[in-house]
């Protein structure tokens, strides 16, 4: 029995050499990649000043901080924090809406089925890419230079950085739209504007609405952090309390943010289902 088994393997080996004896490059690729990944990791840890003693000291420090965070306590500034939270939500809502309003026409220009010419589309796409390459926080710093400290700078920062993201997402939605409706409008004598209004927009608006809602949700998170550089909202309070080491207030603020984000998630999820139905939510 055993013997026959051995013969079988030998025969199989002879018959399918490429299964049994894969070339060394294929066999070594995975281990080599893993070794390289870890080599870079070790190099990184050394280069970035990781040392066990520092790590442990930091951890114990972190333990103390966590202990001092309990219980969360807003002190006497609860009204201020609530106002700041409202400000954050306002920043997210306004910034996203502004971005969507401005991105819609531009995304039409960046869509292949609306503007077939590469010459116009290419620079618009690269322009949108560059805007997206710059983080919201950087835009916030730039806008603070222009309109001064405060939530307004935050609104504009979110609007600009989302403009880049929306431009890309919307134009992809438009490119994915069915051309038949557009051709139908054209066949019945509609102008280019009619084609967009009656052929494209009814198809893409639900998709776009879903994306905008999703971004309002994720911008609630972004809006909490742009405050750290001075662009208003709850992030400003959070950064201040961290800097003065008022840990109980910090934990209260973090909890507030978590609750607010969860609430927005819930509401916008419901709205999204209402607008585009259960199936289309990616």
């Amino acid at each position: 029995m055993t013997r026959r088994h051995e013969v079988d393997t030998a025969q199989l080996r002879a018959r399918y050499p490429d299964v049994f004896d894969r070339p060394a490059s294929a066999r070594l690729a995975m281990p080599a990649m893993i070794v390289a990944a870890f080599a870079i990791l070790i190099y990184g840890l050394v280069d970035l000043d990781f040392s066990p003693s520092r790590f442990l000291a930091g951890l114990s420090q972190l333990g103390w901080i966590s202990l001092m965070m309990i219980p969360p306590d807003p002190g006497t500034s609860l009204p201020i924090y609530l106002k700041a939270l409202g400000e954050t939500l306002s920043i997210a809502l306004l910034g996203t809406t502004l971005a969507a309003v401005f991105a819609l026409p531009v995304s039409l220009l960046a869509a292949r089925n609306v503007v077939p010419s590469n010459i116009l589309r290419f620079p618009i796409r690269r322009f949108l890419d560059s805007i997206r390459g710059v983080d919201t926080l950087i835009w916030a710093l730039v806008w603070i230079n222009v309109v001064g400290l405060g939530p307004f700078a935050g609104v504009l920062a979110i609007a600009v950085s989302d403009f880049g993201a929306f431009g890309k997402l919307f134009s992809e939605a438009i490119e994915g739209a069915d051309q038949k409706q557009v051709e139908g409008i054209r066949a019945s004598g509609g102008s280019a504007l009619h084609e967009i209004r009656f052929g494209l927009l009814p198809q893409v608006l639900p998709v776009i609405a879903g994306q905008v809602l999703y971004f309002i949700e994720s911008n609630t998170r972004s809006a909490t952090i742009i405050g750290i550089v001075g662009a208003g909202g709850i992030g400003l309070q959070l950064a201040e309390q961290i800097r003065v080491l008022e840990w109980q207030r910090v934990s209260f603020l973090v909890l507030m943010i978590l609750v607010a984000v969860a609430a927005i998630d819930f509401i916008s999820g419901k709205l999204r289902f209402a607008i585009i139905g259960r199936r289309a939510v990616a």
């Binding site: 190099y43 970035l48 000043d49 990781f50 930091g58 920043i91 306004l94 950087i138 309109v147 307004f152």
Partner: protein, 294 residues
């Protein structure tokens, strides 16, 4: 060829028309209501966010001229006329950029490792116990909802200024984000191999190792690469709170109004992000074929 178009009698037509009008009117009313509610919310938000259109119009010129200023050298020339002068600090900036990439690399790898370990406990179909799943899920949720830069702010105080805080902040945030995505892949995995392995009397660990992991590694690697891309952007701003990387240089340049430096550093960041985007996209395409791209 004639086409017969049947025209309904007047009475029937009127009834249909009325029904249609009613349906459309109802939809319009709903739309109008939605628009009004949305407009009211916007108005409220505008008041809350101290939006002042006059400020915007007065200072919008500043925004445009800001870009004019950051594209002008100290001697009044455009930056691209004297690239050597514009990119004068390129050695330092490249070094900081390298640090940024290293921060995001190490952070992503640590985060992915933790996510890999935790996600089997968070997935519906592989979690050994409901209470464990609940705990791990809440943990991951916490790690991904608190923004990375908030972690960085706290870690800078605990671990001291420097890239270490940035790495740990990115690692924690990536653990949360990747843990959720990974567990979703596991939930979509085929359970038949697991049953097969379990029927041979294998432990939970062997089931994961030999039945689940081979199915999901491609998806994991794809998401981890995507996360690396996102983390490069995130690491570029970690320096704003003192957690290392090029952000430090940028924030100094912006706050001290070293205009041409701002544009030079922004340029290096944008180029790096482009290169990383393209490379990881290519790598994902190479490793996992076209279908894994999204």
């Amino acid at each position: 060829m004639t086409v017969a178009v049947s025209i309904l009698p007047e009475q029937q037509l009127a009834a249909l028309n009325a029904a249609y009008d009613q349906a459309v009117a109802r939809r319009r009313l709903r739309l109008l209501l939605g628009v009004v509610v949305f407009a009211a919310a916007l108005l409220l938000a505008a008041i809350g966010a101290e939006v002042n259109l006059r400020t915007l119009f007065t200072y919008f010129g500043n925004f445009v001229s800001y870009f004019d200023r950051i594209l002008t050298l100290d001697n009044g020339q455009r930056v691209w006329t004297d690239v050597g002068e514009w990119l004068w600090g390129w050695r330092k900036w490249l070094k900081m950029l390298g640090e940024t990439l290293l921060i995001s690399y190490v952070g992503t790898l640590i985060g992915a490792t933790f996510a890999f370990v935790l996600n089997f406990f968070a997935a519906e179909n592989t979690s050994p116990a409901p209470w464990l799943r609940f705990t791990v899920r809440r943990l991951l949720e916490f790690a991904r909802t608190v923004p990375g830069i908030v972690f960085a702010l706290i870690f800078v105080i605990a671990f001291g200024l420097g890239p270490m805080a940035g790495v740990l902040a990115i690692a924690i945030h990536s653990t949360g984000a990747l843990g959720k995505l990974f567990s979703e892949i596991v939930e979509n995995a085929d359970m038949k191999p697991v049953e097969g392995i379990r029927s041979t009397g294998a432990s939970w660990l062997s089931c994961m190792r030999f039945a689940v992991v081979p199915q999901v590694t491609a998806g994991y690697a794809s998401y981890a690469l995507l996360r690396f891309e996102i983390n490069v952007r995130e690491a570029s701003v970690m320096g704003f709170v003192g957690a290392g990387g090029i952000g430090q240089e940028l924030v100094v340049a912006i706050r001290k109004f070293y205009y041409s430096d701002v544009s030079a550093i922004l340029l290096t960041i944008i180029v790096t992000v482009f290169v990383i985007d393209i490379t990881t996209g290519w790598l994902r395409g190479r490793l996992f074929g076209k279908e894994a791209r999204t």
